[in-house]
C-alpha cells in the first residue's frame, strides 16, 4: 500500500448529551414495582439530578459517533514512548467478562470465591517469576498507586528499623510521577543528573547517598530507553548506607526474561499491567500497578494477602507489619484477569515479546537516525529518543511534526519527555507492529522531515484531516469551563 493511511472519511457531528433528548424518555428497562411504595422522610428527599432523558437509540448513536473521533491501538500504530501501547488481545476481554468473575461480589465468603482467589494467587506467582522478585501485592490500582505503595514500603521499613529518613534520590531520567509519590510519604526529592551517556554514574549516586536518604527511585530501562548499566553497583552503594532501591517497572516490556530485578539489587518494583501485560488503557484507566518485592520488604506489603493452605485459598489480614490498605477491596481485579490471560497465552514467549520490542525500537532508530537528531547514540531498549534539533532551522518543532503524523494516520510518539532532551520525540513501537507497519511509519516520518524543509507551513497547520484542528489549551486553562 503506497497511499498514506490517513484519510478523511465521513465523520458525523454530535452534540452534548443534554443538547439532545426529551423529558419523559428513558434508555433503561425499568421494572414495575412489586412492593408497596414507601415514602422516605421528606427532610431527606431531594429533587433528583437534572439529567437529560434519552432513548436507547439516542444513546447508542451518541457514543458510537463519539467513538469515531478517537484513535486507539485497534485503529493503528500508537508509538507513545513509555506507555507501551501494545495490542490488547480480545480474548482477555472475554475472560474478564465471564459471569462468575464479572458478577462476583468482593465480600463473598472465602469458600464461595475460590476461583478468584486462585487467580490472584497464581498471578502473584507468575509476576514474581517474570520479574525475579520474591513476593507480590496486586492491590495498587495504577502505576502511580504502585509507586505510592513502593514509597509506603520504604517508609514502613525505615520506621520498623527505628531510622526514619527524610530524603529520596530521583534521577532526571525517572518517570514524572516519582517525585509526587515520594512527597506523599514526606520524602524530599533530591534530583540526580544522568551522565553524558544518558545513564546514572555510580559516583554521582555515592555523592548524594547518605544515612538520611531512604533510597533511590530508578526507572530501568530509563525514560531515554537506555539500560542503567551500573544498576548493580548503584544498588550496592544505596544498600551500604542502609537505603533501599525502588525500580519503576513501567518499562518492563524491554527486559522480560532478560533481567532478574532481584539480582540487580532491586528491593521493590512496580509493574503496569496496562503496559507490559497488554491490558487496555481505556482512554486513561483503569490500570493496575502491582508491587513486587524482596523477602526483606514482604512483611510490609498491603493487606489482605492471599494465602494457600491445604489446597484452599483465603484472604489473610495476619501481617502485623503491613503498611495497611490502599484500595477498598483487592485492587482492579478485572484488569488482573486480563493480564493473567495474557501471561497464560504467551508462556515463555514473553521473552520473545521483549526481544521483538527491542528489535522494533532499534530498527526505527537506525532507519531514522539520518533525519532526526539522536539524543544518545547507543543501542536502545524498547524505545528510542530523538529531538527536533535539525528541524529548528526551518522553524519546525517536535509538536508540528507530531501533529503532522496524525494526518498520515499514526498516533504521535510521546513528545517533550523526558525533560533532559529538549524537543524530545520518544518512540516506543512495541512488539505488536509488523515490519511493514514500521516501514510505513518510517516513510511517514521521512516525508514529514522533507516537508519541514520545503513547506513548513503545512506542518504548522497540521493536523488538517481530523474533525477538530489544533485546540486552544491556553484559554481552556485561563477560563476553565469544566461542566456543561
Amino acid at each position: 500500500m503506497n497511499e498514506p493511511l490517513g484519510t478523511t472519511g465521513l465523520v458525523l457531528n454530535e452534540p452534548l448529551l443534554w443538547e439532545k433528548g426529551q423529558k419523559g424518555r428513558c434508555g433503561y428497562s425499568l421494572p414495575k414495582s412489586d412492593v408497596d411504595a414507601s415514602p422516605l422522610d421528606a427532610k431527606f428527599v431531594g429533587e433528583g439530578p437534572d439529567f437529560p432523558d434519552l432513548s436507547e437509540v439516542e444513546i447508542v448513536r451518541h457514543y458510537t459517533r463519539l467513538s469515531t473521533w478517537n484513535f486507539g491501538v485497534d485503529t493503528g500504530m500508537y508509538p507513545l514512548g513509555s506507555c507501551t501501547m501494545k495490542y490488547n488481545p480480545k480474548t482477555n476481554e472475554r475472560q474478564a467478562a465471564q459471569h462468575g468473575l464479572a458478577l462476583a461480589h468482593p465480600l463473598l465468603p472465602g469458600k464461595l470465591s475460590q476461583g478468584a482467589l486462585q487467580l490472584l494467587y497464581e498471578l502473584e506467582h507468575l509476576l514474581a517469576e517474570i520479574t525475579g522478585m520474591e513476593a507480590v501485592s496486586l492491590q495498587p490500582a495504577a502505576g502511580a498507586h504502585g509507586e505510592l505503595a513502593g514509597m509506603l514500603l520504604f517508609y514502613a521499613y525505615h520506621q520498623d528499623h527505628g531510622s526514619p529518613r527524610s530524603k529520596i534520590l530521583v534521577p532526571d531520567t525517572a518517570h514524572g510521577t516519582n517525585p509526587a509519590s515520594a512527597s506523599l510519604c514526606g520524602y524530599k526529592s533530591v534530583g540526580i543528573k544522568s551522565n553524558e551517556q544518558g545513564v546514572l554514574s555510580p559516583e554521582t549516586v555515592a555523592d548524594h547517598m547518605d544515612t538520611d536518604t531512604a533510597g533511590i527511585m530508578v526507572t530501568n530501562p530509563n525514560t531515554l530507553g537506555l539500560f542503567e548499566d551500573h544498576m548493580k553497583t548503584i544498588a550496592d552503594i544505596v544498600h551500604a548506607k542502609g537505603g533501599l532501591v525502588y525500580a519503576d517497572g513501567a518499562n518492563m516490556n524491554a527486559v522480560m526474561g532478560i533481567v532478574n530485578m532481584l539480582d540487580v539489587g532491586v528491593d521493590v518494583l512496580h509493574l503496569n499491567l496496562h503496559k507490559t501485560f497488554s491490558t487496555p488503557h481505556g482512554g486513561g484507566g483503569p490500570g493496575s500497578g502491582p508491587v513486587c518485592v524482596s523477602k526483606l520488604l514482604e512483611p510490609y506489603l498491603p493487606v489482605p494477602r492471599v494465602v494457600k493452605a491445604e489446597n484452599q485459598y483465603r484472604l489473610s489480614e495476619d501481617f502485623p507489619k503491613s503498611f495497611g490498605k490502599l484500595h477498598a477491596f483487592y485492587g482492579n481485579f478485572g484488569v488482573m484477569v486480563k493480564a493473567y490471560s495474557y501471561i497464560l497465552s504467551l508462556g515463555a514467549d514473553l521473552k520473545k515479546v521483549s526481544q521483538l520490542a527491542v528489535l522494533n525500537a532499534n530498527y526505527i532508530k537506525e532507519q531514522l537516525r539520518d533525519v532526526f537528531e539522536l539524543a544518545y547514540d547507543r543501542p536502545c531498549m524498547h524505545e528510542c529518543v530523538f529531538s527536533d534539533k535539525r528541524q529548528a532551522a526551518h522553524k519546525v518543532t517536535t509538536l508540528d511534526m507530531a501533529k503532522r503524523l496524525i494526518d498520515y494516520g499514526f498516533h504521535p510518539p510521546t513528545i517533550y519527555f523526558p525533560l533532559v532532551v529538549p524537543g524530545a520525540i520518544m518512540i516506543e513501537p512495541t512488539e505488536s507492529e509488523s515490519k511493514e507497519d514500521l516501514d510505513r511509519f518510517i516513510t511517514a516520518c521521512r516525508t514529514i522531515v522533507a516537508e519541514a524543509e520545503k513547506s513548513p507551513e503545512d506542518l504548522h497547520a497540521a493536523p488538517t484531516r481530523t474533525r477538530t484542528r489544533r485546540l486552544d489549551e491556553t484559554t481552556a486553562a485561563r477560563n476553565p469551563c469544566l461542566t456543561g
Binding site: K23, I59, A102, E129, V259, G284, S432
Partner: protein, 443 residues
C-alpha cells in the same frame, strides 16, 4: 504466537539493519551482572480455547447471580446493567486509546469525560467534578488530603460509619504525614455522633458517609450547622451513588467536597474492581483538586472541542509540589458510568432509586414483623442492619448451602455487633425472593 507478527525473514532483515547477528545480541550492552541466567519458568502457552476453559473453571467456583441470591452491598452493589451500556463500552476506539494527550484524535474520550464530569456534578449538586479517581476509598483519602491543603491544618475527623475499608485507606495515606485522624463514634439510632465535635479544634475537615455503612441516611444539613468553625470543610462520602437519585445532594447540604464510589452506575462488581472514584467540590477549590480535568475550548476554526486542562496542578508539571501523584483516572469506568446515567435520565434515576428504597424497606418491615431486631431506627436507603438471634451463624451457613447469602456479618468490622448483618436489597430482587428469605431465616 498470534500477537507477534514477525516472520523469520522479517527478523533477519531487521537484525541486518540494526547490525547485530541475532536477537540475543540486541542486549549485548547489558553488563553480565545484570543479565538473567535462567530461563523463565512459566506454564506452557495455552490456546485460546484452553484459556476459555481454564478461566471458566475458575469462574464456575464463584457464587454469583442468578444461581445465588446475594444480599451483599457494603460498597459493591448489584444493579442491572443495560446491554447497550456494555456494548458501547466495548467499542475499541474507547478501550484501546491512551490518556487524551493529543486532543485532535481523542475528542471522543474528551467529550464523553466532559459529559461524565457534568453528570457527576449534577448528581452530587456540586460545581465541579474531576475525571475520576481509582475508587471510593482512594477518593476519600485524596479528599481528606485536599482538605488539609485548603484549610492548612493537620487534623481531620472521620465518622465511624464510613466504610471500614475506606477508613483504613485514609489511615494508610495519612500515616507518613504525621497528621491526626480522629474517629467520631455513632449514636444508638445509627448516625454519626457529633457531640465531641465542639471540643475538637483546628479540624481541616469532618468526613461523613451518607447513606452510611449501616445504610442510614445522615442528616447532612444539621451536621453542617454543627460544624461551627468556618475553616472546617464538610466532606461527604458515599458507597452507593444511586441514593442521590432520591436524596438531597451533598452540595445542597453544604458539602465542600463530595466523593465516593460510582460502581453502582453501571459497573460490574468484578470482585471489587475496577471501580470508580467520583470526586467533586466547590469551584473555588478546583486548583487544590487532585486528578484529571477536561475543559471545553475551541479549535483554530472556532469549532467546539475539549482538552485536558489545569494540568499545572498535576504531577508531570509540578512534580513534588503536585496536588496528588495521581496520573490516570479510571476513564473507561467513568465513561461507563456516564452511559449508565444517560440511560437512566433524570426520570429513570429517580424511579430506580425509589424502587431500591421501597424494596429494602419491604424486607426491613418483613424482618421486623418476623420478630428480628432492626437496631438502628434512622431512615435507610437500600441497606439496613438486622440483629439475629445468637445461633444465627448456623442458619446463615445453611442458607449458603441453599444458595442464599443472607447479608454481611458485621462483627469483623464492629465487634460490638455480633450476630448483626448488613442486608442489601436492590431492584434485582423480587417480592417472592424477599418473602422466601424472611421465611428461611425464620425457620
Amino acid at each position: 504466537m498470534r500477537y507477534l507478527p514477525h516472520t523469520h525473514e522479517d527478523i533477519a532483515a531487521m537484525l541486518e539493519v540494526v547490525g547485530v547477528k541475532n536477537l540475543d545480541e540486541l542486549f549485548q550492552s547489558l553488563p553480565a551482572d545484570c543479565r538473567r541466567q535462567d530461563d523463565l519458568n512459566l506454564p506452557e502457552a495455552m490456546t485460546e480455547w484452553e484459556l476459555d476453559n481454564h478461566i471458566h473453571g475458575l469462574a464456575d467456583t464463584m457464587a454469583t447471580p442468578p444461581a445465588y441470591q446475594v444480599y451483599l452491598g457494603a460498597g459493591s452493589y448489584e444493579h442491572y446493567v443495560p446491554a447497550s451500556v456494555s456494548y458501547l463500552l466495548s467499542r475499541s476506539e474507547f478501550v484501546t486509546s491512551y490518556t487524551p494527550y493529543q486532543p485532535e484524535i481523542s475528542q471522543g474520550t474528551l467529550q464523553a469525560i466532559f459529559e461524565y464530569q457534568t453528570l457527576t456534578a449534577r448528581l452530587l449538586g456540586m460545581e465541579v467534578a474531576n475525571a475520576s479517581i481509582y475508587d471510593g476509598a482512594s477518593a476519600l483519602a485524596e479528599a481528606m488530603l485536599m482538605s488539609t491543603r485548603i484549610a492548612r491544618r493537620k487534623r481531620i475527623a472521620v465518622s465511624a460509619l464510613i466504610h471500614p475499608a475506606y477508613r483504613r485507606v485514609v489511615k494508610t495515606y495519612f500515616e507518613p504525614t504525621g497528621y491526626e485522624v480522629i474517629e467520631l463514634p455513632y449514636t444508638d439510632a445509627g448516625q454519626t455522633d457529633l457531640s465531641s465535635l465542639a471540643s475538637l479544634d483546628d479540624l481541616a475537615a469532618v468526613a461523613i458517609q451518607s447513606p452510611n455503612f449501616f445504610g442510614c441516611i445522615e442528616d447532612l444539613a444539621t451536621i453542617k450547622n454543627t460544624i461551627e468553625d468556618e475553616k472546617t470543610l464538610m466532606v461527604v462520602c458515599f458507597t452507593e451513588a444511586l441514593a442521590y437519585g432520591l436524596l438531597k445532594s451533598p452540595g445542597s447540604q453544604g458539602a465542600a467536597i463530595a466523593c465516593g464510589e460510582g460502581q453502582s452506575m453501571g459497573l460490574p462488581r468484578s470482585f471489587g474492581g475496577p471501580y470508580l472514584g467520583m470526586f467533586a467540590s466547590k469551584m473555588k477549590y478546583v486548583r487544590n483538586m487532585p486528578g484529571r480535568l477536561v475543559g471545553e475550548t475551541k479549535d483554530l476554526d472556532g469549532k467546539r472541542g475539549f482538552v485536558l486542562t489545569l494540568a499545572t496542578r498535576e504531577q508531570h508539571i509540578r512534580r513534588e509540589k503536585a496536588t496528588s501523584n495521581i496520573c490516570t483516572n479510571n476513564s473507561l469506568c467513568a465513561l461507563g458510568a456516564a452511559m449508565f446515567m444517560a440511560s437512566l435520565g433524570g426520570t429513570g434515576i429517580r424511579q430506580l432509586a425509589q424502587l431500591n428504597h421501597d424494596k429494602a424497606e419491604y424486607l426491613k418491615q418483613k424482618m421486623i414483623a418476623a420478630g428480628f431486631k432492626v437496631p438502628f431506627s434512622n431512615p435507610t436507603f437500600n441497606e439496613f442492619v438486622v440483629g439475629f438471634p445468637e445461633n444465627f451463624k448456623k442458619t446463615y451457613d445453611r442458607l449458603i448451602d441453599q444458595k442464599i447469602i443472607a447479608g454481611l456479618p458485621l462483627d469483623t468490622f464492629y465487634p460490638e455487633l455480633a450476630n448483626h448483618y448488613l442486608m442489601c436489597v436492590t431492584e434485582t430482587k423480587n417480592r417472592e425472593d424477599l418473602d422466601s428469605l424472611v421465611a428461611e431465616v425464620s425457620s
